[in-house]
Amino acid sequence: MMRYQDALTDTAQHAEPIDAVDRQIIVATQAGLPLVAAPYDALAEQLGLDVNDVLARVAAMQASGIIRRIAAVPNHYALGYTVNGMTVWNIPDELISEFGRQVGSLDFVSHCYRRPRHLPLWPYNLFAMVHGCTQQDVDEKIAVIGALLGDHCRGHEVLYSKRILKKTGLRLKG
């Protein structure tokens, strides 16, 4: 366990894509943005910064992709999307970029990635999360992906979650 902690400390010395002030802003907002009419003014006051500096830094982090967007994250279950399947597909490597884009553009697919195979146990290289309100709804959506991939798909499975064992977000240390 010591070796593990030492290794983490060691790698934390490398160059940062953000500076200390950006980091303060991230730590202050990772649980959420203040729910007031002028949230960046509140944030600036909390951190002892100028509001224009805060706005410029948040805009720069959004432009560079550190922030995807300023938005709400819905609870799938509360919105009725109770059937959530991780669909995995075995696609020839030379076709995966094209088919990945097509599957990812379907409006019911939330995450779509290429990942490595682990043969012989795990032959799948395309992952697509599918969400629906009923099993039939999800089955129909999976059939749409299957039809899109056609004979190029050499096998697929759907893994449903049985239990959430842990769920937290990204947590930077302050």
């Binding site: 366990m1 290794a7 790698t11 934390a12 940062e16 894509p17 991230i26 907002t29 990772q30 959420g32 943005l33 729910l35 009419a37 002028a38 949230p39 960046y40 706005l55 948040v58 805009a59 959004q62 550190i66 922030i67 995807r68 967007r69 300023i70 938005a71 709400a72 994250v73 819905p74 609870n75 509360a78 919105l79 009725g80 999307y81 991780m86 970029s97 599957v103 939330s110 779509c112 990635y113 290429r114 990942r115 490595p116 682990h118 146990l121 795990w122 992952f127 999360m129 499975e157 893994l159 049985k162 239990r163 959430i164 064992l165 842990k166 769920k167 977000g169 990204l170 947590r171 930077l172």
Partner: protein
């Protein structure tokens, strides 16, 4: 949820401008005062319809990494191994799934090169092999759940 809540949940998933008064335009569109809008957002958070509202950070662009990992955990040690895995702060999500690979977790590390260190430590703690499935290409992320 009423019709205004539904429109609000859909709209809030799309993203707000980075400006001094980012809620004004939405309030105007929905015919609400900003105070009434903020009260609704707070209620949706309190009722757990929304899990979070704010900047959505991308770990990769912060220099870190998110990796999906899977393990084949023996049935009789399942809960014990779940505890051993969850104790690592880098384990962000962990799900039990119906498959011979029956434990799936996401590792979020502040530095990309830390992932291998954490995986080795998890293998040592659990005596289970970790199948590392880092993304090689991202085709899409960010479903909008229509309500």
């Amino acid at each position: 949820m009423d019709e205004t809540d539904r429109r609000l949940v859909n709209r809030l998933q799309e993203g707000l401008p980075v400006s001094r008064r980012p809620f004004d335009e939405i309030a105007d569109t929905l015919g609400l005062s900003v105070d009434a809008l903020l009260e609704r957002i707070q209620r949706l958070l309190d009722d757990k319809v929304l899990t979070r509202f704010g900047p959505m950070f991308n770990a990769e662009n912060l220099g870190g990494a998110l990796s999906l990992c899977a393990m084949q955990v023996p049935r009789d040690r399942y809960d014990e191994v779940a505890q051993q895995v969850n104790v690592f702060p880098e384990v962000a999500h962990n799900y039990e799934r119906d498959h011979s690979l029956n434990m799936w977790f996401v590792l979020a590390t502040e530095r990309a090169e830390q992932a291998a260190t954490v995986i080795a430590a998890i293998e040592q703690a659990t005596a289970c092999k970790v199948y590392d499935l880092p993304k090689q290409e991202e085709f899409y992320i960010g479903l909008k759940l229509a309500v």
